[in-house]
């Protein structure tokens, strides 16, 4: 049994000659030859296959157009799909590059150790790889119980493995999407309204009169239907108020941009609440009818005046009053966007609560132009035995620590894997499906320690991401355009479902996630949970239960159903029972008070950058989804590296020039592996720098992504944990610039 596991760059021995020769032919030879022969192909000569996109979590329904030679030429949005309305975003349009990326994982790989102790990956057959993982799962089950096999998952393929692990007897799973992303708003909105805002969020931007974005950078995050609706809102003359220390794209398109000092948002929101209450601008009828704790709130914000907030936020009192009045004037058709990636400063649930309270005061809940009541279709469960009971799982680590977390916390799963930390329930092996943990997670040392500690890691991915380098077994997954998957069903204005079917056969020796999960299941004697030969059977069975069929769905891709839960909005003065302790919208959270948290949010001062350091703000670029798309040939064409945005004043001070390469060093002395280019721009405050997340890949096998730009996550070593739900606040990190290659300095020091 190994205790240490070296990071292997998949480029070593295993993948070998076949891959290299393919690359030579594929990119240089055939590629050019094809372009010689083929210009545009008319749609009549292409066959469309329905799918839904897997390049991000929005999951827009689309058509993959395949030409007569069996090549996917383009992917276009499904016009009937409310996620995209026939218009995919650049990542969806470029999704075809995911399938034709010649750097893809091509065969199963197994870690081997040479006599001299060095390690490498060896190509393996599916049988061998599957047996190895199944044997390990059996071993862990016997030695530690099935619960000791943990799962990190993301996206649709993750779901297949979730099913496998539940059937096997483990609920030790977590996905970065919760504690590293939108967890705070789930806990906050649930405690306030007794409901979640869902994904896609049920924001009625299309019909809003006032859209308030607090750090949410729609347009840079390419959440498709929201971007589309924001554009419609601009056409409709809606007021857009953006709060951001950076002149984001959304800020540029806004009526009001409040260039806030970072880490002070709660003060601004509380001042808005103060103005609404003390200038009597709030929706009195709504507040009286539906809310609990107004008096406590009023008392709480008594001194939180715009003047008070000015000293904290740098936003002029007049601006605060003016924007509060704009909101009140538009109420209830106001969208206070709940945001998505909220884990900033460790008090993020409270900030999201403040946003929820602000919405409630404006009566902006369940009203046209605010948040609508979304409805989804429940997909019938394919017949299978009950999952076995588990003795423990993610809930136990969250336990008393993060009582209001509603999903597994990734960092807790990592910590439970490290014996040194003496968790009562310890995890001994991992499955990782569809998430590149080293780049997705803050605090890389924690990940490395945990990865070294566990006995076994199996990774399923389409690309040789960093995480595959830690694996004992690597499963090459077919891309979304090559496989069946679960039926998409997300709540929306109209309930709807979407089908994903393969447009082409899986390339190389890759296999669909469902097939891999099933093969493992069969080897573990769990056939009853995988009682089908092809996942299409499951889909067809489910679709027939829903009154349609696989055959029909292949033709239409998306099907809408009539609403059953009632209208999209609340009626005027309608009685409404909220799913909270008090049955009302809790301006004062009883749950929070019970657990010893502030029942009403309050502003806490967060650390500021020391001299010569700048706060690291990171975000999205519209053409990439985190680290997973950087190597995509179509999308790397659009943006192949990130830059670090620096205010001209800072650039002057440091003598930094546009395009100059620097290394970044943070407050804890962490240095980026790769240099990153400077962008001198007025779009960022002088006390902060900005980077697009996802770059700085360290795996050489990613030919277009390796070493391009720097990884913001390497600079995030200070994690401010949210005590309420375990969110990993990542914006309390400060960087400084190194103009010389730190590797040279180290060498000189040695010499």
């Amino acid at each position: 049994m190994k205790t240490r596991r070296d990071f292997i760059k998949i480029s070593t021995v295993g993948v070998g000659a076949a891959a290299i020769s393919y690359k030579a032919l594929g990119s240089k030879g055939f590629g050019l030859f094809e372009s010689k022969l083929e210009g545009p192909v008319s749609d009549e000569d292409l066959t469309p296959y329905p799918t839904y996109c897997e390049v991000c979590f929005w999951k827009c329904a689309a058509w993959a157009y395949v030409d007569k030679k069996g090549r996917i030429r383009k992917v276009l949005g499904n016009k009937n799909d409310p996620h995209c309305n026939g218009r995919l975003c650049p990542r969806g349009t470029g999704g075809v590059g995911m399938t034709y990326d010649e750097d893809r994982l091509k065969t199963p790989l197994i870690r081997e150790t040479r006599n001299d102790g060095t390690q490498y990956f060896r190509e393996a057959s599916w049988d061998e790889a599957l047996n190895k993982v199944a044997d390990k799962m059996k071993e862990v089950k016997e030695k530690h119980g099935p619960e000791a096999f943990g799962l990190f998952n993301h996206g649709t393929p993750g779901g297949q493995f979730h099913h496998l692990l539940r059937a096997y007897g483990s609920e030790s799973n977590a996905e970065p999407a919760f504690a590293n992303c939108r967890g705070p708003r789930m806990s906050a909105y649930f405690s306030t309204f007794g409901a979640y805002v869902g994904s896609p969020e049920s924001t009625d931007i299309r019909d809003t009169k006032c859209l308030v974005l607090i750090g949410s950078h729609i347009g840079e995050n390419m959440h498709n239907s929201q971007v589309q609706e924001m554009s419609e809102a601009i056409d409709n003359g809606a007021t857009i108020i953006t709060v951001d220390p950076r002149f984001s794209t959304a800020a540029a398109h806004s009526s009001f941009w409040l260039p806030i000092k970072p880490a002070t948002d709660i003060a601004l929101i509380m001042a808005w609440i103060h103005v609404l209450i003390y200038e009597e601008l709030f929706d009195k009828d709504f507040v009286e009818r539906y809310t609990f704790g107004f008096d406590q709130l009023k008392e709480h914000v008594k001194n939180m005046t715009p003047e008070w907030a000015y000293g904290i936020t740098d936003i002029e009192p007049e601006q605060i009053r003016r924007t509060a009045k704009e909101m009140a004037g538009a109420a209830p058709a106001v969208v206070i966007h709940p945001g998505r990636h909220l884990v900033w400063y460790g008090d993020d649930t409270q900030r999201a609560r403040a946003m929820a309270i602000l919405s409630a005061l404006l009566g902006a809940w369940g009203k046209r132009g605010s948040l609508y009541f979304a409805e989804g279709i429940k997909i019938p469960e394919y017949p299978q035995p009950h999952y076995p009971e588990t003795k423990w799982g993610w809930r136990d680590w969250n336990g008393d620590k993060y009582p209001l977390a509603t999903m597994g916390i990734t960092t807790e799963l990592l910590k439970a894997s490290i014996p040194r930390l003496n968790y009562e329930h310890q995890v001994k092996a991992w499955l990782i499906a569809g998430t590149n943990l080293p780049l997705a997670m803050p605090d890389k040392p924690l990940f490395k320690e945990a990865a070294a500690a566990v006995e076994f890691i199996a990774v399923m991915d389409t690309m040789p991401m960093e995480v595959t380098g830690y694996a004992d077994v690597v499963f090459p997954e077919a891309t979304y355009l090559e496989r069946y998957d679960v039926i998409r069903s997300a709540a929306n204005r109209e309930p709807n479902i979407a089908l994903r079917m393969p447009a082409i056969e899986p390339k190389y020796d890759s296999k669909p996630g469902w097939w891999i999960a099933k093969q493992l299941g069969e080897r573990l004697g769990l056939h009853d949970y995988f009682n089908y030969d092809d996942y299409a059977e499951v889909i067809d069975w489910q679709l027939k239960k829903l009154g349609t069929s696989l055959e029909e769905m292949k033709k239409i891709g998306v099907k809408k159903f009539p609403r059953k839960s009632g209208p999209l909005y609340m009626g005027e003065g309608e009685d409404f029972e909220f799913n909270t302790n008090t049955g009302k919208i809790e301006l004062y959270s009883v749950d929070f008070a019970d657990h010893g948290f502030d029942p009403i949010p309050k502003y806490t001062k967060h650390p500021e950058p020391p001299a010569n350091f700048y706060r690291l703000i990171y975000g999205r670029a519209p053409m990439h989804t985190f680290s997973r798309t950087i190597n995509n040939p179509n999308l790397s064409d659009l943006m192949s590296e990130n830059s670090v945005w620096v205010n001209p004043k800072v650039a002057d001070l440091w003598g930094l020039k546009k395009g100059q390469e620097v290394w970044l060093k943070n407050q804890d002395g962490a240095i980026t592996t790769f240099p990153v280019k400077i962008r001198v721009t007025e779009r960022i405050r002088w006390d902060s720098v900005y980077m697009v997340h996802g770059f700085g890949h360290a795996n050489k096998k990613l030919s277009r992504a390796f070493g391009r730009g720097a990884a913001d996550t390497e600079m995030i070593t200070n994690v401010m944990v949210d005590p309420i739900m375990g969110g990993t606040g990542m914006r309390g990190n400060f960087i400084t610039f190194l103009k010389e290659d730190p590797a040279l300095n180290r060498k000189e020091a040695k010499a």
Partner: protein, 313 residues
């Protein structure tokens, strides 16, 4: 602060960040074209003036270079084509608005003309020469008979060719550095000057060299005058023209242009030629080489710098 940048990763080879579609072939072609134009013009000129005897090198020997230069120039042009197999498309149409088209047709005419010219002197240059075919002998006799009209045609085409080497660039409105009508005369004068320089270098006759140097001095002065005018025009022009001029007035091309083209390529050889005319001993190759080198540099710089100048971004 004003910031303008591509955010869709545009980075097309030879287009971004600066245009570099025309490499060394085009300036070489322009140089060889100008050189041939100069040689052929003066060959014709001295025949028309009846100075055939006095100006042996200019009329007989130097023109030997012209077809070689033209063929090499055409070769360079062909080399630069990115879709070479389709080059014949040039000769399927006449497009009066296309300077490239003008060039293709002008060369199509002047190259054979230069060959005929050389052929008509073959027996004088190489007494052992034998055409071997009667028909060719007859043709030679015909050409010799009509040598003066031929000289006129050649002079006209030489001017067209010389001007054309400048027009090829100045026709492009999109490149502010090129977009000035002075470029036509400037390239003509510069081309003629290089033609003269080559002839001077070849000439073994001091009297002939003196005549040629005198003419060349005039051309050099006109050239310097035109260059000054070029910059006056730019500086009195729009923002893009001023930016174009600034490439040479403090910008990256300042040294290469003013030192190599103007000083070493024009002023210094002019001084040398003057000294020679005054009777000082100057190696005859020195001013000639400087002028030829200056002319070549001039074209390289103009082509490269011109591609950097633009309207947007």
């Amino acid at each position: 602060m004003k910031e303008e940048l591509f955010v869709s990763g545009r980075n097309i080879p030879n287009i971004d960040p600066f245009l570099k579609i025309w490499h060394w072939q085009i300036p070489l072609y322009l140089f060889l074209g100008g050189l041939a134009a100069g040689i052929l013009f003066f060959a014709g000129y001295f025949v028309v003036r009846g100075k055939e005897k006095e100006m042996q090198t200019a009329v007989k020997w130097a023109p030997l270079l012209a077809p070689i230069a033209l063929v090499l120039g055409l070769g360079a042009l062909f080399w630069d084509l990115k879709h070479k197999l389709y080059f014949w498309q040039l000769y399927t149409t006449i497009r009066l608005e296309s300077p490239m088209g003008w060039g293709a047709w002008t060369l199509m005419i002047i190259t054979p003309l230069s060959l005929i010219w050389v052929a008509s002197y073959m027996k004088e240059i190489f007494p052992w020469w034998d055409w071997k075919f009667k028909l060719l002998d007859k043709f030679e006799a015909f050409v010799i008979k009509y040598r003066v009209p031929l000289a006129w045609v050649m002079m006209i085409y030489a001017i067209i060719l010389g001007v054309y080497t400048g027009i090829l660039l100045s026709a492009f409105n999109a490149r502010p550095l090129w977009n000035t009508s002075i470029l036509g005369p400037l390239f003509l004068v510069s081309g003629f000057s290089t033609g003269l320089a080559a002839t001077i270098w070849m000439s073994k006759d001091a009297a002939e060299r003196k005549v040629l140097s005198q003419i060349d001095l005039v051309f050099i002065f006109v050239e310097i005058f035109l260059i000054i005018h070029l910059f006056m025009g730019f500086l009195a022009g729009s923002e893009t023209s001023i930016e174009a001029a600034n490439l040479f007035l403090g910008g990256p091309f300042t040294v290469s242009f003013w030192v190599f083209v103007v000083l070493l390529g024009l002023v210094f050889p002019a001084v040398l030629e003057t000294l020679e005319i005054w009777g000082f001993h100057v190696p005859k190759w020195l001013p000639a080489v400087l002028i030829l080198f200056g002319g070549l540099m001039f074209r390289f710089i103009m082509v490269e710098a011109g591609q950097i100048t633009r309207y947007l971004y």
